[in-house]
């Protein structure tokens, strides 16, 4: 198994004819992903990396049976692309696009929930189940098959940590970058629940960062509901308050969202918290 995506996932790429869409279609195929269709309005009939392009998501779904979508559409049009996919019956939508207006994010996440569709992101690197499929932009080379589930709010920091796991001989079931924006479709708690119920996942790695209270809420959830061992790293321990550290979500204000509060909450829930990213692999290796 693995969670959310596997070899049976039939992937549609929205915005396939753009530079990013094209590049990552190739990379996903190289990873072994079954990319079945692309959508760019006005470009029906073209082929990108041997993948047929359609004008609408509904056409693509009817012709190819696509079940998941990945979105490379620019921010002003991202919500429309997501809504189109939801209405066409897609059940998993990975929104790579960054800088999506927060009110658009709230609307599309709410609509998806109503229709029973899962959104990952926006502003996320997507997800990968090594040996099976990748729906995202994570570099192919860092993964290896195994039984650690990784959930992260970051992009490149996720690659860093997964890479150090792989180098330590620790494989992953599925790695999910949930995104760094204040409003995201799938949060830590929902991913923890999926990993807890996945027979192929034995351990869970959680990568958080300063800002908001998602890690604290996850810690409460872990205490009550998670039986598998959880390891964590929180970025931004040394970030000054009041300064936004890149991500829209990453800011410590009025004492809320500090790394200390997150680390304390996680440790009290029995989570082993690493001081630096590479220490996660060491902590897991110690427990093997």
């Amino acid at each position: 198994m693995a969670v959310l995506v596997d070899e049976k996932t039939r992937v549609l790429v929205q915005g396939i004819t753009g530079h990013q869409g094209r590049y990552h279609t190739r990379a996903m195929k190289e990873f072994g992903t079954n990319v079945v269709a692309g959508v760019t309005p006005g470009k029906a009939g073209e082929l990108v990396e041997d993948v047929p392009v359609f004008n609408t998501v509904r056409d693509a779904v009817n012709e190819t049976g696509a079940s998941a979508s990945i979105i490379f559409v620019p921010a002003p049009f991202a919500m429309d692309a997501v809504l189109e996919s939801i209405d066409a019956g897609i059940k998993l939508i990975v929104t790579i696009t960054e800088h999506v207006p927060v009110h658009d994010a709230m609307k599309m996440v709410s609509y998806a929930k109503m229709k029973g569709t899962r959104i990952i992101g926006p502003n996320c690197p997507g997800l990968a189940s090594p040996g099976k499929a990748k729906v995202g932009i994570l570099p192919n080379t860092v993964f290896t098959e195994g039984n650690v589930g990784v959930v992260s709010r970051s992009g490149t920091l996720t690659y860093e940590i997964v890479n150090s796991l792989t180098e330590a001989g620790i494989g992953q079931s599925t790695t999910v970058g949930i995104g760094g924006d204040p409003v995201i479709g799938t949060n830590f708690i929902e991913m923890l629940e999926l990993f807890e119920n996945d027979p192929d996942t034995e351990k869970i790695v959680m990568v958080g960062e300063i800002g908001g209270t998602a890690e604290e809420e996850a810690a409460d959830y872990i205490k009550e509901h998670i039986t598998k061992p959880v390891y964590a790293y929180i970025a931004g321990r040394t970030a000054p308050p009041g300064k936004r550290m890149g991500h829209a979500g990453a800011i410590v204000t009025r004492g809320r969202g500090t790394a200390e509060s997150k680390i304390r909450a996680l440790e009290s829930a029995g989570v082993k918290v690493a001081k630096i990213p590479t220490e996660i692999a060491e902590l897991i290796a110690k427990d093997l």
Binding site: V102, M106, P139, S154, T156, G180, I184, G246, H247, I276
Partner: protein, 367 residues
């Protein structure tokens, strides 16, 4: 983007929320003759200005101009007062609080109101707050406003007035793409509710559809402003190691690792995802102006490829050599090509973050 109070009030008024009839001045002599009392409010992008002495009352023109003289140019928590909002003093019967925020946990909007206004909302106990998540697709419904009015103990007449305020603020929040729309205090006067203060933060990612808004510059350092214009996430810090990395999480983690080895970062520079060496050159252009002793480049290649970054570094050096050591750590997509390019410029690139961080700290310590 935070708006000044006077800008927020103009927008509130447009959406049907009553605000005092005021105007702004940048010079004391621009204050017009008035009857009764006026309030002079310093326009700064920081809370707590009342306590800091930034809000004063005056009952005559001469007094008002004298106070304006003192307020203009004053420093409030690092923000200089450049503008005053002059308003007639309002007759306060009671103060309330109301706001809409983006609630991360529910992923919906949240309406917060309280009969305890005029104070920091964080200090109001939970049981005195009215809090309700508002679905973005449904919007404000009458039952919510009724529940709010009961909770706040409003009379029938007051509750009627409240409908206009809640609906108006919801309109502001949604139509202006706000992260936060807040009235504190919302004042009950003999003529009904008035927004005595207005706070509005527009979502940065939504500014493209609010081109009519005047851009409000936060108090950035000149370097931070330059970086912002170039679309680079940059924060100036107080250490001497200039950090350039790709991705916000990785850049933060780089700061953390440096601090573990007792180094201090002087910059947070997130290249983001880029396929263009030009962006790397621009980043070096910014970082070279910062008071640092070592550059620490930490790249994990994905969208941003290692050789692209290396090419940018080399081109930046060709334009203008750096007169300080560069410690590089590159890993990921096109790692070997990137290392080779850097080697040609005499820059050794490490593979692990730990090794590189230790080297950077060593060089920053002057050893």
């Amino acid at each position: 983007m935070k708006l000044y109070e006077y800008m927020a009030k103009e927008i509130f008024k447009k959406h049907g929320i009553p605000v005092p009839e005021g105007y702004t001045v940048e010079k004391p002599e621009d204050i017009r003759p008035f009857e009764g009392e006026v309030v002079l409010k310093s326009q700064v992008l920081v809370g707590g200005r009342g306590k800091a002495g930034g809000i004063k009352f005056a009952s005559g023109l001469e007094e008002a101009r004298k106070i304006a003289e003192q307020l203009l140019g004053m420093d409030i928590k690092g923000y200089r007062v450049r503008k005053l909002l002059i308003e007639p003093k309002i007759n306060i019967q009671k103060e309330y609080y109301m706001s809409f925020i983006v609630d991360r946990s529910s992923r919906e909007a949240m309406l917060i109101a309280s009969a305890e206004g005029g104070v920091e909302i964080e200090s109001v106990p939970d049981e005195k707050l009215f809090r309700r998540t508002i679905n973005p697709l449904i919007g404000i419904q009458p039952n919510v406003i009724r529940a709010l009015s009961y909770k706040l103990g409003l009379t029938k007449e007051q509750a009627k007035g409240m409908v206009r305020i809640v609906n108006g603020l919801w309109e502001v929040f949604t139509q202006e793409d706000a992260d936060l729309a807040e009235i504190n205090p919302l004042v009950l006067t003999p003529d009904g509710f008035v927004a005595a203060d207005a706070k509005l933060i527009i979502n940065d990612d939504s500014l493209f559809r609010h081109k009519d808004l005047e851009i409000v510059e936060e108090e950035y350092t000149p370097l931070e402003r330059e970086a912002r214009e170039k679309g680079i996430a940059f924060v100036q810090l107080d250490g001497n190691i200039g950090v350039i990395a790709n991705g916000a999480g990785l850049t933060m983690a780089t700061l953390d690792v440096l601090s573990l080895y007792e180094g201090k970062a002087g910059t947070f520079l997130d290249l983001g995802g880029t396929d263009n060496p030009e962006k790397v050159k621009e980043a070096f252009g910014i970082i070279r102006e910062a008071p640092i002793d070592v550059v620490f480049l930490n790249i994990f290649g994905g969208i941003t490829k290692c050789d692209t970054v290396a090419t940018g570094v080399v081109e930046a050096m060709k334009d203008r050599p750096m007169n300080m050591p560069i410690v590089a750590r590159i890993k990921g997509v096109n790692e070997e090509e990137g290392k080779e390019i850097l080697r040609s410029e005499g820059i050794h690139a490490f593979s692990t973050l730990d090794e590189a961080a230790r080297e950077a700290v060593k060089l920053a310590g002057g050893e």
